[in-house]
Symmetry: C2
Subunit: 495 residues, 2 copies
Amino acid sequence: MGRLSLLLLAFLTPGAAIPVPPALRAFSNLHLSSSFTSRPAIVMNYSIHYIEQKVDHFGFSTDKTFKQRYLIADKYWKKDGGSILFYTGNEGDIIWFCNNTGFMWDVAEELKAMLVFAEHRYYGQSLPFGVNSFKDSRHLNFLTSEQALADFAELIQHLKTTIPGAENQPVIALGGSYGGMLAAWFRMKFPHMVVGALAASAPIWQFEDLVPCGVFMEIVTTDFRKSGPHCSESIRRSWDAINRLTRTGTGLHWLSEALHLCTPLTNPQDGQRLKDWISETWINLAMVDYPYQSNFLQPLPAWPIKVVCQYLKNPNVSDSQLLQNIFQALNVYYNYSGQARCLNISETSTKSLGSLGWSYQACTEMVMPFCTNGINDMFEPNSWDLQVFSDECFRQWGVRPRPSWITAMYGGKNISSHTNIVFSNGDLDPWSGGGVTKDITDTLVAITIPDGAHHLDLRANNAYDPKTVLLARSLEVRYMKQWIGDFYASRRKKH
Amino acid sequence: MGRLSLLLLAFLTPGAAIPVPPALRAFSNLHLSSSFTSRPAIVMNYSIHYIEQKVDHFGFSTDKTFKQRYLIADKYWKKDGGSILFYTGNEGDIIWFCNNTGFMWDVAEELKAMLVFAEHRYYGQSLPFGVNSFKDSRHLNFLTSEQALADFAELIQHLKTTIPGAENQPVIALGGSYGGMLAAWFRMKFPHMVVGALAASAPIWQFEDLVPCGVFMEIVTTDFRKSGPHCSESIRRSWDAINRLTRTGTGLHWLSEALHLCTPLTNPQDGQRLKDWISETWINLAMVDYPYQSNFLQPLPAWPIKVVCQYLKNPNVSDSQLLQNIFQALNVYYNYSGQARCLNISETSTKSLGSLGWSYQACTEMVMPFCTNGINDMFEPNSWDLQVFSDECFRQWGVRPRPSWITAMYGGKNISSHTNIVFSNGDLDPWSGGGVTKDITDTLVAITIPDGAHHLDLRANNAYDPKTVLLARSLEVRYMKQWIGDFYASRRKKH
């Protein structure tokens, strides 16, 4: 099992090449239409800006700079008693995150807040070496979380010195997924820049042996087990069925037809690629198992796993019947619109995510061990093998992972001296397994959302929101108001 | 006015070359004998170790490593209820700091402490590229405070995993001068590694406009004004006298003889070098104006400025008489032993400090503005000119300073969310002007030592210690005990 990215799931066996999504572009674009976005009510008006950033904040032998993109929305911002909500961008195009973080837009008026969305270096348009950014490990050398946090610090400094009225306002960091990790780490490392952080679905403990490597896939499995009778059992049985079918040319041909694959499977090794792609699909579904029709990674119906599981009620069927059922299930994810002509096993989600960048990050700092045993989870057994992983990283990027670095840098479980961080997690979200789901101190608090998938709380208000997410959001607003209030109280005391 | 290093004072006008101390080696070595060291009582027994460190903690394109040196003294260490005192080494040979930080040795038994002294990269024996370390800006690229802090984090991690009994012990960071800045910053950035920090004479605010650029030289001046009648006035008058004398060949020749210079002054430009060297001498004296005979930067009598000022009682004398008096005063600093045959204006202090390294650091991160106006201080007026400074840095190292980086990185004056840092400062120490001399919060506290020069509190107990430093040390021990106690109390609560 290889690099499991946070949003873009490059869920690969070692040795597999990183998929550079080539096709189905038309299909994807078709559905970025408004009927699937969750925000028809509020118009997201933002201005686009660029700041000149040092390529290397931590070394002086080069003074090279690049343009980092960021967005500003200040419709509800008040210079008097206002605040700045700062989205610490993660592995993708910042406009996509902006459009998928309706929570910030929903609370802007109440917090008199300016919204800022900062793009993460090496993603979207913020490419330190332009088209050459992913050329080799020398160009990728500056793709680290530390450099990204330093970008955020410089950007906040810049906003405070150039926007009249911004200087004396409290800034709050917000982010989801890897962006949530960055929000939490930013508060830990730059508490002089932000008064607090909302880290939504941030698996800051998905490293080394901080949590069991199997927990992620166990949560995926639980989601399927609870969403329909025999659902996870059907999936568990499907792997051997695929193994049997991919042994022969006839089987490969049949499978390619049955699954409507755009590119037919031609050899037994393709079987592994197929299984990886299907696994990733189930994982993605677990992440976006939202209670309403949505379009985050793909256009999907409400509670998509329930819909998927309607096709997977009976595990005790023939291999061919089981795989035909699996096709119906996959179709829920890949063809909710009904317009896809074939399925492409080289891609699983939106083009807005940067697969190359995350693949490199997973091979350097973001070394997240994953494993399965086929017993507590519905997948084929797969142990975590750092050496194999490392060799594959070296082959692909010329770098070796440093698995203990993130813990040394950011503290692992020993973070109780920090303050003002809210960690929110949805119980349906497999990433909650590596997240902070219990209060650490009075000011390092955990909010759990029983019916929530991956950072549901960051999404816009929706009529179908479960009560638990409404409660979570209102708690989050309360904490943010508290930080803002403390900031102004402490300023008044000084003057 | 150029780079003012913390201990090694490369106090240069822009355009002057960095002095690479060439001579008087025999003279210096002579006086590193026991009669001048302040610690004849306790034997400093330590073992020497090396740890393999990444040259670049913040990038992955190179996996190159180097050997960082560190010292361990564990005579009084107890595995049961003990602690680890970790000296965050600064710009010099770690053995020299070890020998000059008697305080740690004095409190080791009381705190059941293991002492660890970690050498700063690019100093002493800890050279990332061996003899080529200072060759060019490419080799120097990894000489930053962030890399040094990461070294410390990795070293502590290493000690905890390799020394049985160390794992569950509280670590406290200690340091003086730049080492004190590192101790404070280490607690700020890596609070999961150390329970607290003692930052002695740490001018963390000697950056940008956090304090007035003139404060440093004003304190130097005050030290001389208070140490004898007309003392600072004599020095103030000496600059013009030198200017007049260095205008002619006869004057240059006379001055070279009168000051017993090893290398005669040959042209008017040498006048500036001479003045810089004399200025540095007064600054150094202000730093080491200790109440007893000592040998930190040079072998010196007790209260050396008072001794110096005995020769500078009368400012209203002829130029030649004034300079003869200045020679007598300089002689206190450069020839307390009486064995120096001549004075070398290319050096001002011990060889244990790394002048090249600090010159580079001052040209990159450690951009400390200094200025004089000749009114509030006894020096020739000199304004802070960043552009000139930057150009000189570029000429010498091929790098440009980033004057606002340290504030962005470490918070400037906005550090109140951190905890457990004691900032100690001596009122006689010119670096106190850039230090924290007032409590920020209950756990970010300032200790001032009215009769103290540069980190007097870190020096070994001495019969001539003023009461104020004894009080400071006992407060420091009390805080450290509190941090250690809190650590063990919180551990007991968990189990």
